[in-house]
């Protein structure tokens, strides 16, 4: 095996420059001649230096030798000689840079931890030996190879400079796994991790001899929102509930306030007193029919701002059309009017179908063909295709209530008579909810292909049911059950989580979105052009980040996968605007709707918050090595060409110095 190899053997051709140097040397020694009247003084002057006469004779030759030596050194540098031990000891280094949310924490110098990490990484890159190769990985959310194995320092520096700050969680372990995969079984492989140490499995990484952990940042106090969700109330159609956790990640008591704002409107201010390490949970109930973006903001000034803000999407509640067909029933009219979001319309003629997206309430007047759609029948007087009427019940008293059904939730019917109730025989599937002692249904739900129906067998004019609290509750339950969005939740995601949208294939009109592995997003969307035409559901979709970065969404079969989302704020899934000549909108609709609603809203909004105690805790979990001033180079680690160039530079400087003093010619 050769001790010395040359990376660029063609560089030897540069030695041909020796020929012109020699020619110039020969030409140079033909000195210009100057006649003088006498040599008396010159002889006297130079004869004093006679001991150096032999040197004077050699000085031109020495100059030539110096020039040859310089040329030889430069050519030797050009051919880039490489010792065999250098080649064998070339290292493969994977640099893992933590760019998680905690790395955004501001330090005392006005920089962030990520800035410090990048600066330190730059120093490490510049100290690489010439035969070493390095790859760079980022470790927020899913590990990402920023740049593959290379020895080109400028590319490495550019790649490190381009690592973005994210709000994602730290996943150094996954990054290290990826790094080990990159290194494979390389003998001189090293993994360098630059992190703030704000993750749990620090000790496991430190135990790995291949890994060197470098720390940046200092211990910092922080107060953070660690949980934030909002959902529609289970009891109130326009109500909503906010769940909020705030944690104190410091060693001192903290007092702060949380401001809740729905859009621009301030909703609530919650004062909080937090002990060290304490997590305070708050449940807040409020009402709003409009919905929108519900912001939470902590009024503390700490080094990490991302976790002082949180966002959730409150679903909007739309009015429901209720058509009451009656010849005059003040009880029923009053109750329906009192139910929120009910847009009541009173008629005397029963239509053949329920209003689109609405509910038809029939008071006594029931056509022979029960109208399709969602129908509530009160005190039916005639038989229909869905039932037949029998004899009046002898004891129309409540004997049995199906307490599991949401339709009779919170309804107390003790000693309540249902006068006028008659025996009913249903032709289809029926679910009796309230029954008399002889199992005659007093309140029942009919399952129909064209829409469920609810029947209440009671003459409101005769009994005291309308005077009981149970009646408005019963009617409210019925209307809200038909609306079907009780307790609707659009969960706010945590950064780093994935979201899967189910996309049916061509021919199926609906697009069902499920919110990630945590909780399902119980929502269906439909792809439809603004002109009402149903377009192909293979329509391209795109994801718009809070910073308005647009990413096309790739479909995998019937699914579109989003994430991991590494930025807090409001994400939007929308159809790609450039997909066709006609704009296409995505419309979230109720899963229980009949699908014939008009499309009003276009995009799916996804709130994304940090809510990660591991990231918000800015106190390192263990001791880490100091990265500032570290160097990857060792003495003699530079390639041989570097030293040759150095010697050549010294030589040419010496030659210049000697020439200026006429020591060489």
């Amino acid at each position: 095996m050769n001790l010395l190899e040359f990376a660029n053997p063609s560089g030897w051709w540069w030695l041909a420059l020796a020929i012109p140097i020699l020619l110039l040397y020969i030409l140079k020694i033909r000195l210009r001649r100057q006649q003088v009247p006498t040599l008396l003084f010159w002889d006297q002057l130079f004869d004093e230096k006679k001991p150096r006469a032999w040197w004077q004779r050699l000085r031109h030759l020495l100059s030539l030798l110096l020039q040859f030596a310089f040329l030889a050194l430069v050519v030797a540098a050009l051919v880039d000689p490489l010792w065999s031990w250098q080649r064998e000891q070339a290292r493969r280094i994977v640099l893992v840079i933590d760019n998680s949310a905690s790395m955004r924490a501001a330090e005392a110098q006005g920089t962030t931890r990520l800035d410090e990490a990048k600066q330190a990484a730059g120093s490490l890159v510049q100290s690489l030996r010439s035969q070493d190769r390095m790859a760079v990985l980022s470790a927020a959310g899913r590990p990402e190879v920023v740049i593959g194995m290379t020895d080109h320092q400028r590319s490495l520096l550019n790649a490190i400079g381009g690592i973005p700050a994210t709000d994602g969680p730290t996943d150094v372990a996954a990054a290290v796994t990826a790094a080990e995969r990159l290194l494979a079984d390389h003998e001189h492989g090293e993994i360098l991790v630059i992190t703030d140490g704000c993750f749990a499995d620090l000790d496991a990484l430190k135990a790995n001899p291949r890994i060197t952990l470098y720390g940046v940042g200092s211990k910092q106090d922080n107060v953070a929102i660690t949980r934030y969700q909002v959902r529609r109330s289970l009891l109130d159609a326009v109500g909503y509930q906010v769940l909020l956790d705030v944690t104190n990640f410091s060693d001192a008591d903290k007092s702060c306030r949380v401001e809740l704002a729905l859009g621009e409107e301030l909703v609530d201010v919650l004062p909080l007193d937090l002990k060290p390490g304490e997590t305070v949970s708050r449940f807040v109930d409020h009402t709003s029919a409009t919905g929108g973006e519900l912001h939470a903001k902590l009024d503390v000034a700490d080094s990490l701002d991302t976790d002082n803000r949180a966002l959730a999407v409150l679903p909007e509640r739309k009015p429901v059309r209720v058509q009451l067909v009656t010849k005059g029933n003040l009880f029923l009219k009053g109750v329906l009017e009192s139910i929120p979001l009910v847009d009541l319309q009173i008629t005397s003629e029963a239509p053949s179908v329920a209003p689109p997206g609405g509910i038809l309430v029939l008071d006594k007047i029931v056509p022979a063909q029960l109208p399709s759609g969602r129908v509530v029948v009160v005190d039916p007087q005639t038989a229909t295709d869905a039932w037949t009427l029998g004899e009046p019940l002898s004891q129309p008293i409540v004997a049995k209530v199906d307490k599991e059904s949401p339709l009779v939730q919170h309804v107390r019917l003790d000693n309540v008579l249902f006068p006028g109730a008659r025996q009913m025989s249903f032709t289809g599937e029926v679910e009796p909810l309230i029954q008399d002692p002889l199992d005659g249904p007093l309140f029942a739900r009919l399952e129909r292909p064209g829409g469920d129906a609810v029947v209440l067998a009671c003459n409101l004019d005769q009994g005291d049911l309308p005077l009981r609290i149970a009646f408005p509750v019963l009617m409210k339950n019925t209307i809200e059950w038909f609306q079907g969005n009780s307790g609707e939740l659009r969960p706010a995601m945590a950064t780093g989580e994935m979201l899967a949208l189910d996309v049916p294939t061509v021919g199926n009109k609906s697009l069902v979105a499920n919110a990630g592995p945590v909780e399902p997003l119980d929502e269906a969307v439909e792809v439809q052009a603004v002109d009402g035409e149903i377009r192909s559901t293979t329509q391209a979709l795109e994801l718009v980040s809070p910073s308005q970065q647009i990413t096309p969404l790739a479909r995998t079969g019937e699914q579109v996968t989003l994430g991991p989302l590494l930025e807090t704020g409001l994400w939007t899934v929308r159809s790609a605007s450039a997909a066709g000549d006609k704009p296409v909108v995505l419309t979230p609709i109720s899963s229980k709707s009949t699908g014939d609603e008009t499309n009003t809203e276009s995009d799916i909004l996804i709130a994304c918050n940090l809510v990660d105690p591991a990231e918000s805790d800015l106190r390192p979990r263990g001791e880490l090595a100091e990265v500032q001033g570290r160097s990857l180079a060792i003495l003699g680690g530079q390639s041989l060409w570097f030293y040759l160039t150095l010697v050549a530079a010294l030589l040419i400087a010496s030659e210049w110095w000697l020439y200026q003093r006429r020591i060489v010619g």
Partner: protein, 292 residues
């Protein structure tokens, strides 16, 4: 342009008018007086300068006034004026301006001497005397003098003033004033030649000529110097430091001439060829107190 044109002759006439009795007891009267033994006539005082013979100090004036003055005397007889003109190749180096300058100065002084009825003889020399103009007298001989000077050619491979002086003292019928016009780049040293003249009671007057370029060369770097006389070559590397040393050496050389002349009370004039020759003559006269 001819060496001695009509303009030159006019200048000679002018110099002759302003320099009456230049040589008669004015230049070095003390030597001449001593040589004659008697007939001493006090002529003038001049200021003492270091190197003057203390025997000619006017002690009475010193005792009375404290002024240090030298007594000067006038002799009455005609004077033999010999010119020793260096025609070596060092004098004709370059455009030959030194030789031309020497010839002009010699012509001017010879004219003045002839006008004063002094006897003039000219010896051209390099390594030996090459041309001789025998003693001549009378203003009408000036043309032959000029012709002789005009016909002088550079010659010789060295400069040997001693050989020329030896030849002069052997040939001269009697002692007199010897005006040496040379750059004094004498390989054997100029002192031996002047000593020879002094020993034979001649009165040497040295006019040392050089050019500004000789005093202050500007070449730098590697160079091959050629001796104009011998043709010898020297390969040298001249640095600023060497140039400085050369200038110091040249200055020392000039100072050694001054020192020598002062030591033996010889009159010495040093000039570069930049100075017009008539200016030089007038300067010599002012120094001698002949004119103002």
């Amino acid at each position: 342009m001819a060496l001695f044109d009509s303009e030159f002759l006019k200048r000679l006439e002018y110099l002759s008018l302003v320099s009456r009795r230049v040589f008669r007891g004015r230049l070095l009267a003390q030597r001449r007086t001593k040589q004659l033994g008697g007939g001493i006539e006090f002529a003038d005082h001049r200021e003492y300068s270091p190197g003057d013979d203390l025997r000619y100090l006017d002690w009475n004036i010193y005792a009375r006034y404290g002024d240090v003055l030298l007594k000067r005397f006038q002799e009455e007889e005609d004077l033999h004026v010999y010119f020793l003109i260096d025609v070596s190749r060092s004098m004709s180096h370059g455009s030959g301006e030194k030789l031309d300058y020497a010839r002009r100065v010699a012509a001017a002084l010879a004219y003045i001497a002839l006008a004063d009825m002094d006897r003039v003889s000219i010896y051209a020399y390099s390594d030996a005397v090459t041309e001789v103009l025998p003693l001549t007298r009378g203003k009408d001989r000036i043309l032959s003098v000029l012709r002789f000077l005009e016909n002088l050619k550079p010659s010789g491979a060295t400069t040997r003033l001693q050989a020329a002086a030896t030849s002069l003292v052997h040939r001269a019928s009697r002692s007199g004033l010897v005006i040496v016009l040379s750059d004094l780049y004498d390989q054997q040293g100029f002192r031996a030649g002047l000593d020879m003249l002094r020993y034979h009671r001649f009165e040497p007057h040295v006019i040392q000529l050089h050019t500004a370029a000789e005093a202050n060369p500007t070449w730098l770097g590697d160079i091959e110097l050629e001796d104009a006389e011998s043709g010898d070559l020297r390969k040298l590397t001249i640095t600023e430091r060497k140039l400085r040393q050369y200038r110091e050496l040249f200055t020392e050389f000039l100072a050694s001439i001054d020192s020598y002349c002062r030591m033996y009370s010889l009159s010495c004039t040093r000039t570069t060829t930049d100075l017009p020759f008539d200016e030089l003559i007038l300067r010599m006269m002012r120094t001698a107190g002949v004119t103002t």
